[in-house]
């Protein structure tokens, strides 16, 4: 039965995967990818079919579990934000070496313009680096359709496939038409070629040669893909290579059809023959791509090009930030639309910790205590509490990537910094903080770790946190002296107690852990609403 549904790009992809016979989704929450897994968790088909949908501790464990499911013959989906690819990278790159058995699709949701991220890395580079096919939908309908196409390609070539989304695709809604057929799950079974799943050097060398050979097949598949298209045009002064959602911004600026020849790319490896055809027909090329200039760089090279290539590197488009209908319009040389002047009284309104949030009470105490020392440094991490950098707290000195708080505090302590304080959330701690804490314990590093525990993964909307209820046990199990694992309820009335604990643990020469614990007020509110309903 065909249905019309209004879905986010994330949700369209999730539904496509469900309809393609998915057996499990593995993911760690991260904007803008979170809604893929949430949609699968809430969909009736998931319970009906017993599809795996529990959150993983981090992106690496997610990638590995999905690879295990693929090994066992079933279809698995792995979802993460772009920087999650860095965490999953070891498993991801080597999954190209093992190959897939059951269909294996990895979704990386990139965040150009850094709406909710620390960098603009473009996951297409990971696909190229691992030498696997990459899909990049240009519409919600394609996100739905491509999920099935990606599983098919994965099973046809026994290779993991990367699906790259960007914020505006992940978090924009449109109506999609669903497929007539909801496919059953695969029957479990094991790979015929068992050898390539044991990546010992002898096996890997043979497999690597095959993977390189297969890349020609992946490119041939991209050349024939219905998601890539060459459309001729009458104005051959410029030929346009348009990738993913850039296609929409191009169409927006030519409502009656683009006069230039256009090569639309939504499946990689880049089909070289189609690019050559476009270049042969046109005087110059313009590359419109979201993220980093992957295609432009490839076409431009370092030697004088036979055809001029323009894009983000040439300055035709801004080098940073996401594409918009407006910067694409400028790149196309079209006159700007008439509009209103910006208002000069509008002030910036940065995000802030919620009123009543426990992180606020934690920072209020920490800031006072840290202020008592001359050279105290606070190493923080990824989560709502990163907002402690802003007014009124100005309480942290660093925020780099998941888990870096503890290990950077350790390294700084090694260099003589005292107090060296780490501030990390409960979910981030179980994601990537535990191993760093073990390093610190093994060396008796003089650090104080604050695990600000709100019993959830707060920033992404309140998903389950992997260590809830067991943080003290985990810390003690890693070797922290139980006498120096202290808990406190972060409330204004406990400010003095919190300050006393922090002072005592900073004074202790060794690893100590302070756990201010109070439920996230957003999840608490939601639970109250559910109880009332």
């Amino acid at each position: 039965m065909k249905n019309r549904e209004l879905l986010l790009g994330d949700e369209a992809l999730a539904l496509g995967a469900l309809h393609a016979g998915l057996s499990g989704v593995y993911a760690y929450p991260g904007t803008p990818s979170t809604e893929i897994t949430e949609f699968i968790q809430e969909h009736p088909l998931t319970a009906e079919r017993g599809i795996h949908c529990t959150w993983s501790a981090n992106e690496k464990t997610a990638m590995e579990a999905a690879l295990g499911m693929s090994f066992a013959g079933r279809r698995a989906l792995v979802c993460m934000k772009h920087v999650g690819m860095n965490v999953a990278a070891d498993a991801f790159v080597n999954s190209a070496m093992t190959g897939a058995h059951g269909g294996l699709v990895v979704v990386a949701a990139d965040d150009p313009s850094m709406h909710s991220s620390q960098n603009e890395q473009d996951s297409r580079f990971y696909g190229k680096f691992a030498m696997i096919p990459v899909f990049e939908p240009s519409s919600q309908q394609e996100a739905y359709d491509m999920a099935r196409a990606a599983f098919d390609l994965s099973e046809r070539y026994r290779i993991p496939v990367l699906m790259r989304l960007t914020t505006r695709m992940a978090h924009s809604r449109a109506a999609i038409v669903t497929a007539a057929e909801i496919r059953p799950q695969n029957e479990p079974g094991f790979p015929a070629d068992a050898r390539q799943w044991v990546l010992m050097p002898g096996n890997s060398r043979a497999r690597y040669v095959r993977l390189i050979d297969d890349n020609a097949r992946f490119e041939a598949a991209a050349a024939e893909s219905p998601f890539n298209a060459y459309t001729d045009g009458t104005d051959r002064s410029t030929g346009i290579v348009v990738c993913g959602i850039a296609n929409n911004y191009l169409a927006e600026n030519y409502p009656d059809g683009c006069p230039h020849p256009v090569l639309k790319i939504s499946q990689y490896p880049l089909p070289a023959a189609l690019v050559r055809r476009l270049a042969a027909a046109c005087e110059r090329l313009l590359v419109l791509e979201e993220g980093q200039p992957l295609v432009e760089e490839l076409l431009r090279g370092v030697l004088p090009a036979p055809v001029p290539v323009e894009g983000r590197l040439s300055g035709a488009l801004p080098r940073t930030g996401e594409l918009t209908p407006d910067n694409v319009r400028r790149a196309l040389g079209l006159p700007p639309r008439k509009t209103h002047a910006p208002s000069d009284i509008v002030a910036a309104r940065p995000p802030a910790l919620c009123q009543g949030c426990g992180h606020r009470d934690m920072y209020a105490a920490l800031r006072e205590v840290v202020g008592e020392y001359d050279r105290a440094k606070v190493f923080s991490d990824i989560g709502c509490y990163t907002l402690g950098w802003l007014a009124p707290f100005h309480a942290i000195d660093t925020c780099v990537e998941m888990g870096a708080s503890i290990t950077m505090a350790k390294g700084a302590a090694d260099a003589g910094v005292h107090p060296a304080v780490a501030v990390i959330g409960d979910s981030t701690f179980t994601h990537s903080g535990m191993t760093g804490l073990l390093d610190a314990v093994n060396e008796r590093s003089n650090i104080t770790v604050v695990i600000s525990d709100n019993l959830t993964t707060g920033m992404t909307g309140g998903q389950d946190s992997a260590g809830t209820g067991r943080l003290e046990q985990i810390c003690a199990g890693l070797g922290v002296d139980p006498a120096h694992i202290r808990t406190v309820v972060p409330l204004p009335k406990n400010r003095e107690e919190m300050k006393r604990l922090l002072r005592e643990e900073i004074a202790y020469d060794g690893v100590s852990v302070v756990i201010p614990r109070r439920e996230c007020i957003q999840t608490a509110k939601r639970k109250t609403k559910i109880r009332q309903a």
């Binding site: 209004l6 109506a175 209908p325 002030a347 940065p350």
Partner: protein, 195 residues
């Protein structure tokens, strides 16, 4: 038919509920729709917006081009002004006049008024007072939706169906409160727009 709408406000004010009601109505009318939302970090008390595009023909971009918006519908006055470069020359601004001041450099009331006065087409209202008067104090966002309704190009009864569909699971009392809020906003706008 084409309506490009920027919904704006501060995280937590409820712009996504407005978008959901309009989306429901637009789909029932058989229109094409695209709606770009903001999720994640900026939702925490920061500025938020949603680009909502309705059209009888297929829509290309998820984002509204600058100078293309037919309407800015804002739950907060300064947040309406943030998106003026996206407003078309003939576009309307429908805004709640109650400021949400959570930053130190928030502009004063007189400069806000001056900025609104230089715009050709505005509907301004104290959505919170109207919500209180219509006995639905938590539905200021739906009052604002009501105020935008005459300019949306969608039949009011379709929007009311949307409200029923979205609030239905919360019970009849919540549905009625939101319908009252919607109608009160609608009545205010008709007084303002029609001489």
């Amino acid at each position: 038919m084409k309506k490009d709408i920027i919904l704006s406000g501060v995280g937590g004010q409820g712009i996504l509920s407005i978008a959901t009601v309009i989306g429901h109505a637009a789909l029932a009318e058989g229109l094409h729709l695209k709606q770009a939302e903001v999720h994640g970090m900026s939702q925490r008390g920061g500025d938020v917006q949603s680009n909502l595009r309705l059209s009888s023909s297929p829509i290309a971009s998820d984002l509204i081009p600058q100078g293309g918006a037919d309407l800015i519908v804002s739950l907060e006055p300064m947040e309406a002004l943030r998106y003026l470069p996206w407003l078309s020359e003939t576009g309307w601004v429908i805004a709640n006049t109650v400021p949400l001041v959570n930053i130190p450099d928030y502009p004063d009331a007189a400069s806000l008024r001056r900025e609104f006065d230089r715009l050709p087409h505005t509907v301004t209202l104290d959505a919170e007072a109207i919500a209180r008067d219509s006995a639905s104090p938590r539905a200021a966002n739906i009052v604002l939706l009501g105020a935008a309704a005459p300019l949306l190009g969608l039949p009011a009864e379709r929007l009311e169906e949307g409200i029923r569909a979205i609030f239905g699971r919360k019970g009849e009392a919540v549905v009625e409160a939101n319908l009252a809020a919607f109608r009160a906003g609608c009545a205010h706008a008709r007084k303002t727009i029609l001489p």
